[in-house]
């Protein structure tokens, strides 16, 4: 379908270019302008990784702050699309809430109005191509530099240059049109005309994927008197509706919250558009009344359209800013995440393509998905010990847990792996590798340990799977000695899992730092004690050789589970807050320091 559309477009445009040089000039102008916008976005992406992330997190705590943030960033970047993508990406990663995201979108609508003013007041009045040339030359010069910041600056400069050049071509094309054909003869008046041109404006924006490009086209056509003022207003309304489709397409790969934001964007702009269509005569009268105060001449329709665009978007914010919380609850009711039953196949919850756009979102998403995988593995490890995850969080005495869970739980570990681990694990590793190839070395330094934490989680699962078979046999064994040994393994792992849950749930940093060191110490101490106990049992013939071999292997597996999960807890805790990362990391005891405490400098035997 897409390919067919492309072929039809190429055929129509080729025919039009053969018929009129002016259409070619206008189309080339649109193409150059769009290329400029792409280059501008690319340039801002070089800075977005650090600067925008920091601003977004700090300046969007309140709705009004989000609106201001959206307005300022869209004004600076002249791309509401990029700001919306950033907002969707941050919402998907859980860095900001839906309400803040809606605030950014509302602010973005205000920010786009500056573009209309710049084009109508500056771009159409002077020879803009003169400014484009040096920008392009210096822009390209900077793009070839090694420094990322200079490269980003180069893209921004080149983007502006191309945008200016595009506007110049469009202006030239429409001016030339004036001499050969009068497009206003196709103008349609009345309500029918409003609806028709709104639709044309929306379709043109969907095709060009840029409301800015549509607006430039409308303004240049209006300045050259090729469309009527009323039709230009309708096209502007259409462009505002059409731009939401870009966000909807962009949100297809996003999380449910990203989809909610795209839904909000569509709702806000479409409803404002519908209200505005009904109020066009009133708007025109109001503009005629207020334009002289701003020094806009009566026949300067381009500036009047910029003023209309401003009123339209301010109306949009005035209508919806007080309703943000209600919109959030409405969207939460409309977009409901599917709940997965434990027995069903589980999938990633946070990973999405949009999260790969920025370093911070990629790291946050990776961290959250790792916690998701950890939660699934935590669940199966407890079942492998013939207990339930609720026992860990219950606060019940460990001895009592062992007493009430004296019967073996027969769980199919392979099935669990297929349904609730394999896909998530695969997607996490794939995401981490993609992210590693995309971001700076500094970002990779943060991503690699999180990726490795996933490998450790799966190692812990494998150890648990190997241990399960003997665990099932021996916790119901007639030999009290082997039963006691396996219950001892269970007790130790319950204690370790409990401490890990405490680390994830505590708000007290010192408690987490202490527990993380304690996890390592306990794993070491238990391992030493278990080996001594095993030697005793073999010497005194209290267990058979087969039992001894099993116990020896399973002690190793238990150690693997404890130590791997301790490292996972360490990584997840340390990387949770990038500002505190180094301080936390510095105070958690490392393996050598733990060895010193247990007076066990020898490396552990290999399994």
């Amino acid at each position: 379908m897409k390919r067919l559309f492309l072929i039809i477009m190429i055929a129509i445009l080729s025919y039009a270019f053969l018929q009129s040089k002016n259409i070619l000039s206008v189309s080339a102008g649109v193409a150059i302008f769009l290329f400029g916008m792409l280059s501008l976005e690319e340039g801002f992406r070089f800075f977005a990784g650090g600067l925008l992330d920091k601003f977004l997190k700090k300046l969007t705590s309140r709705i009004y702050k989000s609106i201001i943030f959206g307005a300022v960033t869209t004004t600076l970047m002249q791309s509401s699309g990029l700001v919306a993508v950033i907002a969707i990406s941050f919402i998907s990663a859980g860095l900001i809430g839906l309400a803040q995201g809606i605030g950014i979108v509302l602010g973005g609508n205000i920010g786009t109005t500056t573009g209309a003013w710049l084009i109508a007041g500056f771009g159409l009045k002077i020879s803009i191509a003169t400014y484009a040339m040096p920008m392009l030359v210096f822009g390209i010069l900077f793009i070839f530099q090694n420094s990322k910041k200079l490269k980003g600056f180069g893209y921004i400069l080149a983007g502006l240059g191309f945008s200016f050049l595009g506007i110049a071509y469009m202006k030239e094309g429409f001016e030339a049109f004036k001499e050969t054909i009068d497009l206003t003869q196709y103008a349609v008046g009345g309500f029918k005309g409003l609806l028709l041109f709104t639709l044309i404006g929306a379709i043109a924006t969907i095709v060009m994927q840029s409301s800015h490009a549509s607006l430039v086209l409308i303004l240049t056509a209006l300045a050259a008197s090729q469309i009527t003022y009323e039709n230009a207003i309708a096209l502007t309304i259409g462009a505002n509706i059409g731009t939401t489709i870009t966000a909807i397409i962009g949100s297809l790969g996003a999380s449910i919250d990203g989809k909610k934001l795209a839904g909000a964007h569509f709702l806000i702009n479409t409803l404002t558009g519908l209200v505005s269509i009904g109020l066009v005569p009133q708007f025109i009268a109001f503009i005629d009344l207020t334009a002289p105060f701003l020094g806009i001449r009566e026949n300067d329709y381009a500036l009047k359209l910029a003023l209309y665009h401003t009123y339209f978007n301010f109306l949009c914010v005035a209508l919806f800013a007080p309703l943000v919380e209600r919109m959030v609850s409405l969207l939460n009711r409309v977009f409901v995440a599917q709940k997965i039953k434990e027995s069903e196949r589980d999938d990633v919850l946070f990973i999405n393509d949009l999260a790969l756009d920025f370093e911070d979102t990629a790291q946050t998403v990776l961290l959250k998905e790792t916690k998701h995988l950890y939660a699934n593995v935590f669940d199966i490890i407890t079942k492998g010990l013939s207990i339930y995850k609720e026992d860990i969080t219950s606060g019940m005495d460990i001895e009592d847990i062992i007493k009430i869970r004296s019967h073996a739980l027969h769980v199919d570990m392979d099935e669990f792996y297929e349904k609730r681990i394999k896909d998530i694990y695969g997607k996490i590793i794939n995401f981490a590798i993609l992210a590693q190839g995309k971001f700076s070395d500094d970002a990779n330094k943060r991503l690699i340990p999180i990726k490795n934490a996933n490998l450790r989680i799966v190692e812990a699962f494998k150890a648990s799977k190997h241990m399960q078979k003997n665990m099932i046999n021996y916790i119901e064994s007639d030999n009290e000695f082997i039963k006691a040994e396996y219950n001892h393994i269970r007790k130790n792992l319950i204690k370790q899992l409990r401490n890990m849950q405490l680390i994830f749930n505590t708000t007290e940093e010192d408690v987490a730092v202490l527990l993380l060191s304690k996890l390592k110490l306990d794993a070491q101490k238990y391992d030493i004690a278990a080996n001594k106990s095993l030697d005793n049992l073999i010497r005194t013939n209290k267990i058979t050789y087969a039992m001894a071999t099993s116990l020896m292997n399973d002690t190793t597996y238990a150690y693997t589970i404890a130590s791997e999960l301790a490292e996972v807890a360490n990584t997840l805790f340390v990387h949770e807050d990038s500002d505190l990362k180094e301080g936390r990391e510095a105070l958690i005891l490392n393996e050598t320091e733990v060895d010193d405490m247990t007076n066990n400098p020898d490396k552990r035997r290999s399994a």
């Binding site: 202490l514 301080g583 105070l587 005891l589």
Partner: protein, 78 residues
């Protein structure tokens, strides 16, 4: 805020200058302060605890904290 500190802050915000050791030291200082308070409360708990296993666990925790505070002080003295 002095001029140089202001420039450093702006630089850090814009990602122009690498973050200094200052932020690490600040985080360590805060954490050491909290750990010292935790050690006091654990020592109190140890005095009141009669269960041998729990006493052993508390002793381990105090030993760990002692080592962590020492590590923190070394970083701060650097």
């Amino acid at each position: 805020m002095s001029g140089s500190k202001f420039i450093t802050k702006i630089g850090e915000l814009f990602g122009i200058t690498p973050e200094s050791d200052e932020s690490k030291k600040k985080a360590v200082k805060e954490l050491v302060k909290k750990l010292k308070l935790r050690r006091i409360s654990l020592k109190k708990e140890l005095k009141e605890e009669s269960d041998i296993v729990k006493r052993e666990a508390l002793k381990d925790s105090i030993k760990i904290i002692k080592k962590q505070i020492k590590k923190g002080k070394d970083i701060l003295d650097d």
